[in-house]
Amino acid sequence: MRHVISVLVQDHPRVLSRITGLFARRGFNLESLAVGTTHVPGLSRISLVVSGDDHTLEQVEKQLNRLIEVLKVTDHSEPHVERELCLVKVHVAGVEERLAVKDIQEAFRARVVDVAQKSLILELTGDSKKIDSFIEALRPYGILEVMRTGAVAMSRGERTLKVREKREAV
């Protein structure tokens, strides 16, 4: 099963390497990874998309918690918002194709962020499934390249990734 996990870390050098190394070493399946700074200086937040059974996910969470620089791990099973950003460069040879692509763009509420003679770059934000469908819809027109950020997630409501909530560290 697919899980989105948020990890709050100290933004020390190599912390990302510790996390990816852990996944490689333990044979966990990492589908995507997104990382960025937070509003708190010194803390970064990582979103991981992981697939595996319950036992594997329990281990993922526990092994992440063992890392000294990991402050908090949350598996987003509760209501949460998930978003991914994607840039797609599509080949558009003629006016007809350009119009067809524009239809798709509007249907998905994507934005055109670059226009060239024979190509367009479209930007779409949404959950990963929506991005999958968007790419599939554009595929017949000739996709030149795709860049996805990987999913980022946040719990709905008051719940936050609080530092002091970290338990079970070793």
Binding site: V9, Q10, P13, R14, S17, R18, G21, L22, R25, H55, E58, Q59, K62, Q63, N65, R66, L67, I68, E69, V70, L71, K72, V163, K166, R167, E168, A169, V170
Partner: protein, 562 residues
Amino acid sequence: MKGAEALLKALEREGVEVIFGHPGGAIMPTYDALYDSPIRHILVRHEQGGVHAATAYARASGRVGVVMATSGPGALNLVTGLADAYMDSTPVVAITGNVPRALIGTDAFQEADVTGVTMPITKHNYLVQEVNDIPRVVREAFHIASSGRPGPVLIDLPKDVQLSEFTGTFDVELDLPGYKPTTKGHPKQIERALDALEKAERPILMVGGGAQHAHGELLAFAERTGIPVITTLMGLGAFPGNHPLWLGMPGMHGTVAANRAIHHADVILAIGLRFDDRVTGKVSRFAPHAHTIIHVDIDPAEIGKLVRTHIPIVGDARSVLREMLKGAKPLRLASWWRELEEWRTRYPLRWKPKPYLQSQEVIKAFAEATGGHAIVTTGVGQHQMFAAQFFAVTRPRSFITSGGLGTMGVGLPFAIGAKVARPEELVIDFDGDGSFQMTLQELATVVKYKLDVKVVILNNGYLGMVRQWQDLFHAKRYSEVYLADSNPDFARLAEAYGIKGVRVERKEDLMEGVEAVLSADGPVVAEFKVYHEEGVFPMIPAGGAAEDMILEHPADKEEVEA
């Protein structure tokens, strides 16, 4: 004050008395500072010897072992030892030099990405970029290494950081917001555990290396409840090997009584162990009758990792056992003990006598001559298992072996580390001819520091454990295991170092040999030429279960039946 001096001062403040190490270019500023430091340095002949010695120092003393090496090759020679310490949860702090900061990443002379390489085999590591960070990094390293589930921590210090002027303070706070080990077990879970044990008909207590420091509480708990105790290889000594409640070691080369007890147990209380495959065999067939497994471990990630756990207790073994003692009651286990006694009497550890000198009798002779009162270290292989089986240590921190990683060659450096930690103790390294030759250069360290260690080489002329598997599982195709044609004369080798050498070749000379080793004033290397076709039994083949136990070599069995 330079960074190097600040480092040594910080180490002093952590109570460090000894560093095992080997100098080299990138760590020279620290060695220069060491010249004026009260910290004792043990110069080893290979960095691997240093890290193993530091590991044994930690295991024998309960304190943090410290090893130091230079950049690149020096640091990389620590890798095996760090992995060994990590697998066996041993508190070690490794300090390595690195090339100056400006050269990092340029493939400079003797440069290697040591923090990168050691990331998966250390509990944590640091590359110090700023000289004033040294005191905080050292404090954190010692705290991380020795608290929670202990493990090795590496501090990589670029040469120019060692040479920079230190202007910081030593009164530093730990800055580890993500590191808060749980040491106190959950009271509700402890209550549930006691309840399950009280209702149990066939309970057992399984104990691992995580309970070495909880030996007093463990003994009290076992004696109060009367539950039989099984100690893993790493747990040997945590419970006295001469105690009537002790069933021996479980697993691949464990006793029949221990393995049968696990097989038939209804409630298992496992403390400070991680259900290694050498203990469980095939996990799906492990303890099939246990309706309740209680797992006490300080590392939450170990709970439920391999074996289904019904009552998880995250906490320190000592603290949890103390709490459990409060509610522990004597249990009525007479019929369970009748069964256990029968297995124990019917299937003691034994060997089939041959007309040649045998490893088991050599170890047994030492055990009897010393009354089990020694610190035993071992290499890895048949001799290690024989030592575990026939030298039943009675005190904690006295059986120092490579459990998780199975590192050949640890015996001699482990003996060195143990002797430095506890000089008043008799230290015996039971080694194999294969294992010993992997680190024998440390005989020079033995000489240099006049360390009275007794090295007992059980020389069967083979890589015996590999040979045993080839014998049993590879149709006797003895691929690349023969050593006898090229082994040195170990006694003469010892003498070349100025160490007393002893050689025993015949069965009838055994006692004289044991006496020669134990009565010698100073270090000894004794070679006992033992029967080369010996196998370690009982044996549960890899991936098997308790029911698949082989009690003796198939060839011996036929002889008996004929």
